[in-house]
Amino acid sequence: MKKQVIMIDGNEATASVAHRTSEVIAIYPITPSSGMGEFSDEWSAKGKKNLWGTVPLVIEMQSEGGAAGAVHGALQTGALTTTFTASQGLLLMIPNMYKIAGELTSTVFHVAARAIAAHALSIYGDHQDVMAVRQTGWALLSSGSVQEAHDFAAISMAATLKARVPFLHFFDGFRTSHEVNKIFQLSDDDLRSILDEELIRAHRARALNPEHPVLRGSAQNPDVYFQMREAVNPYYEAVPGITQEAMDKFAQVTGRHYNLFDYYGDPDAERVVVIMGSGGETVVETVKYLASKGEKVGAILVRLYRPFSVEHFVKAVPQSVKSVAVLDRTKEPGASGEPLYLDVVNALVEGRRSNIRTIGGRYGLSSKEFTPAMVKAVLDEMKKAEPKNHFTVGINDDVAHTSLDFDPSFIIEPEGVVSCVFFGLGADGTVGANKNSIKIIGEETDNFAQGYFYYDSKKSGTVTMSHLRFGPQPIRAPYLIELNQANFVACHQFSFLERVDMLKYAKKGATFLLNSLYGPDEVWDHLPVEVQKDIIEKELKFYVINGYEVAEKTGMGGRMNTIMQTAFFAISGILPREAAIAEIKRSIEKTYGKRGEAVVKKNFDAVDSTLANLYEVKVPAKITSKITRRQAVPAEAPEFVRNVLGEIIRANGDNIPVSAFPVDGTFPTGTTQWEKRNIALEIPVWEPDLCIQCGKCVMVCPHAVIRHKVYDEKLLANAPETFKHMPSKFKEFSTGYAYTVQVAPEDCTGCTLCVEVCPVKDKAQVGRKAINMEAQPPLREQEAKNWDFFMDIPDLDRKLINPSTIKNSQLLRPLFEFSGACAGCGETPYVKLVSQLFGDRAVIANATGCSSIYGGNLPTTPWAVDSKGRGPAWSNSLFEDNAEFGLGMRLTIDKQNEYARELLVAFEKELGKEFVDAILNARQDDEAGIDAQRERVAELKKRLGKSSDNRAKDLVSIADSLVKKSVWIIGGDGWAYDIGYGGLDHVLASGRNVNILVLDTEVYSNTGGQASKSTPRAAVAKFAMGGKGMPKKDLGLIAMSYGYVYVAHVAMGANDQQTLRAFLEAESYDGPSLIIAYSHCIAHGYDMAKGLEQQKLAVQSGHWPMYRYDPRLAEQGQNPLVIESKEPTIPFSQYAYNETRYKMLTQMDEERAEALMKEAEHDAKSRWTLYKQMAAMHYNGNNKE
């Protein structure tokens, strides 16, 4: 039978085997392994069966810890069970992993190996997570490519069933999990041949069963625990043999042969590199290349890392070897070497090969590029008499000088490989089109092919890079296409030319395809100097296509995918034109057919219109341009921003030396202001003649790019000519005050929420509001100057502002600005409000998720400082522990405050009773009180500053704690409802003064919209493909049950005043406060500009009742619950069916959609009824009678 060849990524390759060989799958989203769970969920939802003809049961858990627990239970009761995870998720599984191994239970966990959050979080690949479980007693099997991920998923299953030792099968996150490569697919019959059915039944026979009960999980004492721990030894000794046996059997079935340790290179090698994971491919290819040039080098790929078979390893090392270098993709600070290195050192000693000189080094942390040049650097180092040990490669370590120099011009790209690099705008379809192209090339031609995709960490307006390679031989190059190596470079967005150096990838004579508004005769003069220079010097063939026009005419909107794909095939000639177009159309049918004929048609139209708009440009001989590429950050930016963050923005982060960085992950705040992204095509323009100065546009702006100020009108003397202003209508600031609403033109994302919220309509032309959108480019320069002038106008003194109205509160400067959140984000207006109201004294604990990414992902971060240098101090610990993390902050503040007060009393004599009493008894319930206390504390520091008394020094060091602090614990519903709920509950129960803000998007937004317990019934989400069958958890109700927790349920779009009031009240409450804030989200599937409107409907339908529960009212004998929304006035469906997440269920399963919608309707009504009854309860005497 012909082998089935497919182009898929590592996650799908792995899940395809895992799903077919499992009965129960417990999942939880974590990058980069989420894809495996998503595939499994989707396949089961579609009724795809496993090898034994039954659909695996897939369940999402509340955390990876929960998933491991469920897996453990399912295994104990005999199901073939698996899970998928990475990084922190794997760490959360450790306790259960010990149990599962201790009980000798057959299972395979599949891990897309990823970095661990230390000084910073990273979603990218290395082996830190896997190395953190090497002690649990699990077998660790490493695959280094998409094919291996597919194959080893099967081999590990076969081996665990026989060995009874659980297997962790891992591959490199992103590099393998997300790389698309051509693989031979394992058929069901292949898998059946590999797996021993009797062993599966043996696994079931060991299950807990009351028909023949046993007990497992006993507690033991010093007399026997040790012995039983040793009793498993024979099983571990058998694992290498069993695994090799499984590999051999696999080879018989498939023809692909693997060994526990695979040796490549010169059989008489003297220098050998030992490595595991995807980097092994690079080492093997480099070694083969060098060996072909006569170098005596080799490579050993470690497949089975645990149990580490000394015997097999030593056998794999040729007798000729004199020197071994072990490469670890992990970092173990303080160890005498990284784990694989130590294993090899030990193996060579125990295996009587200690004559071999062994060195170890680190590479590739957080998916750092690992190239043949780096491998060569290692091999070259080994030649030295005194080679560096514990080295690093791939970075410039100018601090500890661990790094090896490497020569980036060393390239081993084999003949015949075609390399293509594509630059696209996030969501413009570039990546999807390239995935499709490489699939066509891989599946429809004899070529082998590889696709790898690189994304930015901002959520909108980002640059994507697609690296495609294809050629007659299998592509084993798990690294990006290197500089000067691409045969084809495509730029899918013209505006990138001024900020991204794309042609550095092009080799001489390469082809450059540009999506251009300008035709072949006029484009040249619109190119920056640097681009013209590269085109001329590299003798590039230059093509333009006006994809924008084609997209406009064919209804493709901003999607360039099929247009640029067609142009690529037309120019590259990989397939004959007609055949290529037929293939593109076939894949359009396949991809979009289910979405309807209209979608297929517009894509077909785009394909058909492309060729007529594709032109080769006659390249002039001379550089003529007057345009130069823009600087990443302006020259006036601080040094650190220029030299470090600016370099990261310039895509030059790889070359920044170690010394340039902080040692402990500490960064200055307020850096987004230097990264002008210019991503809005249209920006809001203020019309003073209509404006009523309500401040709603300022409040709702997700990116803090629209602001208003009241200021001394004399300041207008120096205003730029186009600076708009009007007399202030604020009653507190009227005579002599001017008022301006100003937009930051280069930071705006063009979301239009400000226009939507503007309540004013021109009476003569209702379509015109006090804010309207206009094209950005003509306004950019002028408004940038106006913005600078506006920002130089001093902010009003906070003491003068009563923040209880929207317009006043919005005079407070946002200390959260220009974040990387999606355009129109529903979360950030709340976050920004916290920064305005309390930012100058706020400490923030931020759960991992969207808010930690747009709040803290490099290069620049949005938390900012005011004119006095004060602002939120922000940190992200983990996903699961955020409530506790924030509580810890509160505890420090409380403790230090207490200690400071004790010390103050002790220093009463020196400081004077009156002064001490003033500090101790200061009222800090408003800005004036806080300001006065700040002045006293400053005075205190001054007075004690020169004292040599240690207690005085102590008091100075903690004196800031005497000024009221505001602790905010912020995160999404995935954290609050699921993974962090236990901690959140405990923190609420603690009674401590913390403010918890839950940005409730009703899904795990950051990882792509998986269901959480906040997801409403009837909504479709990932991991709930068939529509969520259970209602949304009522977190507010649970919190109210404590009686002493302030709880508010708010929706800014429905009632911004209620939101403002809730934030002020929550913060003023001296106890735990919980604000649950409705946050519209890209994952809901509707126009984000209508987010506020949709929030109103959510409230009107009863889905999102607005209320405040203030325990202080109960103390006053009143009912603490005040409902601030009306009884449902519209059906839930009227709200829900504006959103794709609900509507798509009607398109998938109308009957289920109807049934769930009916129940969801009931959910909304019954919740309302319950609240109504609660709010009507008699509270006289605080219910204490």
Partner: protein
């Protein structure tokens, strides 16, 4: 025995009450109830090409939006390709309805593109519809577009659809046509087997507080019968094609009026939505009683009996009718 039967588009109906395109046909159980209550035929709710296109493009847009942009979230909605955004749902409903009821089922199509009209018409025929009703709907806002342009376009379209299908074709037209008889003539020549008078339109309204345009469709009132009554009276004697009267049919007397104007069937939606499916039975009983009382033997007997051709004063349906109304005042004592 009073004979209530009639024919429409070549179909034999047990009586002239037809459920017009409405949500009633969206549910099989409601359609069954209509059948049990004695309905003569059922016109399906309309397949709106525009809606299919809209839903399709919308789904595509939201599945693509934000996708392949951010490394942790390569999409934001699950895309298992399990949805059906196509006429399939509608076509399945046609087939389902055909199985569920004993009376003829007439498909209804509201298209926007040339290809869409013929393609969907063919599919509705394949799904088993006994006839097809084309719902012509066009709001002209372009001053350079003449009434002739629009009529040409619609005539072409009817011809094209007619050539694509074998089942009978009725055309539901708008009253906003300068010369209805001429337009009907052209459509007859293009192949129309019948006409449904008239299409009711969603008319925009203003919300004066929010200064926004709002859309709502009110159920028809009995007074609305007069417009189609006049035009069927004028047309039925001049053309051999069938006419269906829709709008304002709420009672048995409305049915009688429709028949007398020359309509072969009277279509109801608002009345059924308001009074329930079982009201068909009541109207039929009342109709039969009325006919007995007035000594009519059959529906056929009354069909066209008061059409322009049949009445003593043909001018009553023309402009003179207007004069008459105005001139009908009397000096009261």
């Amino acid at each position: 025995m009073t004979d209530l039967s009639t024919t429409y588009l070549g179909l034999k109906l047990r009586n002239p009450i037809v459920a017009s395109a409405s949500p009633l046909s969206k549910k099989l159980d409601r359609a069954k109830k209509l059948d049990e209550a004695g309905i003569g035929a059922i016109v399906m709710f309309s397949l709106f090409e525009e809606q299919i296109i809209q839903e399709s493009l919308e789904l595509d847009h939201y599945l693509n939006r934000g996708a392949e942009s951010f490394p942790e979230a390569l999409s934001y909605l699950p895309d298992g390709g399990m949805y059906a955004v196509s006429p399939e749902k509608y076509l399945n409903q046609v087939a389902g309805l055909k199985k569920a009821v004993s009376v003829p089922v007439i498909g209804s199509l509201n298209g926007v593109s040339k290809g869409g009209w013929t393609n969907y018409a063919r599919k509705i025929e394949e799904a088993g519809a006994d006839a097809l009703e084309l719902n012509l709907y066009f709001i002209s806002t372009d001053p350079d577009m003449t009434s002739g342009d629009i009529e040409d376009m619609q005539v072409d379209l009817v011809a094209e659809v007619k050539s694509a299908i074998k089942i009978p074709l009725a055309v539901k037209i708008s009253p906003f046509v300068t010369s209805i008889p001429n337009f009907v003539k052209r459509l007859v020549d293009a192949g129309a087997d019948g006409f449904v008078l008239f299409n009711r339109f969603y008319q925009p309204d203003f919300d004066l507080e929010e200064l926004e345009i709002v859309h709502s469709l009110d159920l028809s009132t009995p007074a609305e019968i007069r417009l189609p009554l006049r035009w069927i009276s004028i047309l039925s004697g001049q053309f051999k094609t069938d006419f269906a009267l829709t709008s304002g049919v709420h009672s048995h007397t409305d049915v009688v009026k429709a028949m007398m104007s020359g309509a072969k069937v009277a279509m109801m939606a608002s009345g059924l939505l308001h009074n329930g499916e079982q009201s068909v039975d009541q109207i039929l009983s009342a109709l039969e009683a009325w006919m007995k009382e007035h000594e009519y033997e059959s529906i056929r007997q009354m069909q066209g009996s008061m059409s322009q051709k049949s009445v003593k004063e043909p001018a009553a349906f023309e402009r003179a009718n207007y004069m008459k109304v105005l001139g009908s005042f009397r000096d009261l004592p």
